[in-house]
Amino acid sequence: MRQIVCSSEALVPGQKMAVQVGKRSVVLVRMGNGDYSALMDTCPHQGAKLSDGELTGTTLPSGVGEYVYGKEAAVLRCPWHRWEFDVTSGQALFEDRRACVKHFEVTIEDGNVVIHY
């Protein structure tokens, strides 16, 4: 199944929006590099809407006392407990097999953003 959700210019890098895809609530994000990605719009922890959260970068694994910032606009942070998810995979940035959000393939076709589900 596939659904056109918006024009490919609807979001600028760093923006996100909630969209309805079939019966699913999905959060569409445009990453810092301009690519689109989409995740189910529900945090697996306590059910908050991820589209109410932040599309952000974050601190990467580093040496003690060192801060390395990366993944600019490629991390979706839940509005409640701030669990962080990699928008390219839906995986949480910490190890927990339960902490994974469904990821949807996104393509750009004829100037439109298409979510495959």
Partner: protein, 367 residues
């Protein structure tokens, strides 16, 4: 004789007060606001600055922000300050019967100017009865006091203790031992007015080694202060002097309770001689006089959590809480472990708090 010109005569003119050069070694320039520094900062600390509150009572700038992002208000006012939004996001959203307000204003932990602390607590009570309690009969209230001067605290308890919505006295846990005899008149007054004493961590609460370096450390181990306060209240005889005292421990966790009770009982059997006024095993005082709010509930293997309740040897010690609007809000829909039975959940969501606070049944509860 010549004299240096005075400020009055020299206004607007360049003057030299002495016939030699001058160096002023202490002049205070100021920023208009902290935002002046933002162009000179980078991530991740630029992100911290969205949550900057200065070097206040809380020693940490929150790395991710202290509130639910969906509770932020469009006008920029602090989350939790708008009744309509709170009503929609909490009371109505989850069809709540009662919500006990605990504020986030703790003159009780001021470490100086105690008369001012008393005045602030008193003003807060006046303000929030008018602006919160009177708006919704689902709200129940906490009397804010300044225990630094117990006489002032007692006066405040006597002033508000008969208010129909007031159910507890709020004593934030800071860095002082609240079971010390210095504070006992506060428990006497709470008992006399049949009020629970609610203990929530204050922002200045410390750990066994003071303030740790990172917020995540502090937030993880501030339970130490709750553990210490449980022990301190029991062994300093609060419940022997005032057997009607009921203590609600708020936001301090509860999974540490079984081991604390075991260790207290273990020591009591050998060291009772030091505290002969304590006449029963300390764990019995815990079960009779204390209740613990659930948030922030940890989420390990759900079977472990059920065993924790079993190890407490009571299903009456836990009371549900959300901590709205804070970042670590626990949803009534998703936070209690799946292993908890409907009977246990009902006790945690409703019965235990209703019985402990001695609340009338809500109209909805009869459904």
């Amino acid at each position: 004789m010549t004299t240096a010109p005075t400020d009055e005569t020299s206004e607007g003119k360049r003057v030299r007060p002495a016939p030699f050069p001058i160096i002023d070694t202490d002049v205070h320039e100021r920023m208009v606001s902290i935002e002046d520094l933002l162009p000179y900062m980078k991530e991740p600390f630029l992100g911290y600055m969205k949550h900057w509150t200065g070097w206040g009572e809380l020693k940490y700038t929150h790395p991710i922000g202290g509130s639910r992002l969906d509770s932020l208000l469009p006008n920029g006012n602090v989350p939790g300050s708008d009744y309509q939004v709170l009503k929609e996001q909490l009371l109505d959203r989850y069809d709540m019967d009662y919500a006990i307000l605990t504020g986030l204003f703790y003159p009780a932990t001021m470490e100086a100017q105690f008369e001012l602390a008393g005045a602030l607590a008193s003003a807060y009570n006046e303000w929030y009865v008018r602006n919160w309690l009177e708006k919704d009969d689902r709200f129940l209230g906490s009397i804010h006091v300044a225990p630094q001067i117990p006489e002032l605290a007692v006066r405040e308890i006597e002033k508000w203790g008969d208010h129909p919505q007031m159910v507890q006295v709020l004593l934030p846990i800071g860095s002082v031992p609240l079971g010390d005899p210095f504070y006992h008149s506060i428990y006497e007054a709470a008992q006399r007015k049949n009020l629970v004493v609610g203990m929530h961590q204050g922002n200045s609460v410390t750990t066994g080694f003071g303030q740790p370096r990172y917020y995540i450390e502090w937030h993880t181990i501030l339970s130490q202060a709750f553990m210490g306060t449980v022990v301190n209240l029991i062994l300093n005889g609060v419940f022997d002097k005032y057997p009607g005292t009921r203590i609600a421990m708020l936001e301090g966790g509860f999974t540490w309770l079984p081991s604390l009770m075991w260790r207290m009982d273990h020591n009591y059997k050998s060291l009772r001689v030091e505290v002969p006024w304590v006449k029963r095993l300390p764990s019995e005082y815990v079960k009779e006089h204390f209740r613990f709010s659930t948030q922030p509930i940890e989420d390990p293997n759900p079977q472990f959590m059920l065993r924790m309740v079993e190890m407490m040897e009571s299903d009456e010690l836990l009371m549900f809480s959300t901590d709205y609007p804070h970042w670590d809000f626990d949803s009534p829909l998703r936070s209690l472990p799946t292993t908890f039975s409907p009977e246990l959940k009902r006790k945690i969501f409703y019965d235990n708090a209703k019985n402990f606070y001695q609340l009338p049944d809500s109209p909805k509860a009869a459904r």
